[in-house]
Amino acid sequence: MDSIYRENILDHYKNPRNFGRLDRFDVTAEEYNPFCGDRIGMDIKWKMENGKWKIKEINFYGEGCAISMASASMLTENVKGKNLNDIKKLGTPDILKILGIDLTPTRLKCALLPLEVLHKTLALAK
């Protein structure tokens, strides 16, 4: 079936990586998609390495559809250890590449929700 519900998406939905609140974090943010009731939050711990701020630890929490949860799971995996400036540049094409599926405009909003949260944390960190 030509579907967005590939094995990797379902896997990340059922077994999300980096899920659950961190005991201690440097910054946290949450976003809500009123269209479908998806709510994603992220806790982040930074570290300084070679003069650059990088993500030391990142977890996400919340509840949502398979797309938003899988996207959050894959995104947190992807950005661990990355530096701030690279993360700031992440956009829609990167999310689509990470997910590896085509999405309608409606479902794209679900996939982008975790990225919105991530960008929100970066803004707060400043």
């Binding site: 079936m1 059922k14 009731g37 559809c65 398979a66 797309i67």
Partner: protein, 410 residues
């Protein structure tokens, strides 16, 4: 007898195949499909007499005016109104309710006034009252419902006080499918406080069951054309004549005036007082054609068909484990609306999988966030039936849900 397969033939959209598969449309509560007769009526206006109404002396204008007012009369008769002047054309049920809030509400509701509503309201009948209350310092009391989706009518009556100005509630819940016993409720309210006005949001009722505004005893009733086989952009507010006469205009402009001078303007009487500017003439005519189509089917038959279909759907769905259905357990207490959730699968994903087989259901909060908060769920999936749906459509829905369960391994 009522044959949805034959009825489907009246709706040209069903000729369409998407990815080689037919459309299984289960979202009529969001918007209904259109029969050729309605499309023909709209097209006829634009082809044969697409001129403005009321203004022209020429024959075409007289023709358009006559057809527009005939549509009003048809719609008035459909809801049991004694006088077509009690029917104001609006853009939708939403605009109809806003009209009452702006026109009647701002004159009659002030600081300390009370409005009684419910937790099951659609945003169209929730937000306008909320905003009015916030701006004038009035209070809204929200009545709760039980696990069967039934309104707590005794709580509602207890809540009516001398400060209550208006009770505003849905006839049919667009999520729970609950049919509120409006006639009964109104009688009891008026007995307790005869001054209280009552507005009924009938958007999910008028398309599906026969109703009579005089028998119900309400003061205002709002509904939308596009949910009852009519075009988008047209709806109606029914208001008791005495009330409409004393209400100030909602929008100002052309057509609703008697005389305009530099110093002042005098206004027409209802309904034209509330219809400023050039209306959606084709929309009104299309809605008139929709009413005719429904009349020919017979609203009793429409309701019976939905009860049968809903009974069948509830029974088939009850065989699916991990499925929670919201609202009344019995098909007799509900309209053809079934909102549900599959354990551990978000309603969005349910709708997406069903979409791969062209099964159209709605997912989200269905313009009823307070209701979802009350149910303690983020979102729900909703299937709704209308005259063109058959048992086969229900079977396809069930098949689709089993597919979802398989994919998500629940």
């Amino acid at each position: 007898m009522f044959d949805p397969v034959q009825i489907k033939k009246d709706f040209p959209i069903f000729k369409r195949l998407i990815n080689g598969k037919p459309i299984v449309y289960l979202d009529s509560t969001a918007s209904s499909l259109k029969p050729q007769k309605v499309l023909d009526a709209i097209n006829e206006y634009y082809t044969k007499y697409s001129v403005n109404i009321f203004r022209g002396v020429y024959k075409l204008s007289e023709e358009a005016t006559a057809k527009y007012e005939q549509a009003r009369a048809k719609i008035a008769k459909f809801i049991g109104a004694s006088n077509p002047a009690e029917v104001v054309f609006t853009r939708s049920a939403t605009e109809a309710i806003n009209l009452v809030v702006y026109s009647w509400g701002r004159e009659n509701i002030g600081r300390g006034s009370e409005i009684v509503s419910t937790l099951m309201e659609h945003h169209a009948n929730f937000v306008p009252w909320q905003q009015l209350a916030l701006s004038v310092g009035a209070f809204i009391k929200y009545i709760d419902f039980d696990e069967n989706g039934q309104l707590d009518t005794s709580q509602l009556l207890k809540t009516i006080s001398s400060k209550t100005k208006i009770v505003t509630l849905a006839f049919v819940s667009n999520v729970l499918g609950t049919i509120n016993p409006i006639g009964d409720i109104i009688r009891q309210i008026k007995r307790k406080n005869p001054k209280v006005k009552i507005l009924i949001d009938a958007a999910a009722a008028v398309p599906h069951m026969k109703l009579d505004v005089n028998k119900l005893g309400c003061d205002f009733l709002a509904f939308s054309g596009h949910k009852m086989l009519g075009p988008t952009g047209i709806g109606a507010l029914w208001g008791k004549s005495g009330l409409l006469e004393n209400m100030p205009p909602f929008n100002y402009g052309g057509e609703m005036i008697k005389q305009v001078s530099i110093e002042k303007t005098t206004f027409k009487v209802a309904p034209h007082k509330f219809e400023a500017g050039t209306p959606h003439i084709a929309g009104a005519i299309g809605l008139g054609a929709a009413v005719e189509y429904l009349d020919n089917l017979g609203m009793d038959k429409v309701r019976r068909h939905e009860i049968e279909l809903t009974k069948y759907a509830l029974s088939r769905l009850s065989n699916l484990s991990n499925l929670k259905i919201y609202g009344p357990k019995s098909a007799d207490d509900r309209s053809g609306i079934i909102s549900f959730n599959l354990d551990n699968v978000h309603s969005h994903d349910v709708a997406q999988v069903l979409d791969s087989d062209n099964i159209c259901i709605r997912s989200g909060h269905h313009c009823a966030m307070p209701l979802h908060k009350r149910l303690n769920i983020a979102a729900s999936a909703r299937a709704s039936f209308y005259i063109y749906n058959s048992k086969e459509d229900v079977d396809k829905l069930v098949g689709g849900l089993m597919k979802v369960a398989k994919i998500f391994k629940i």
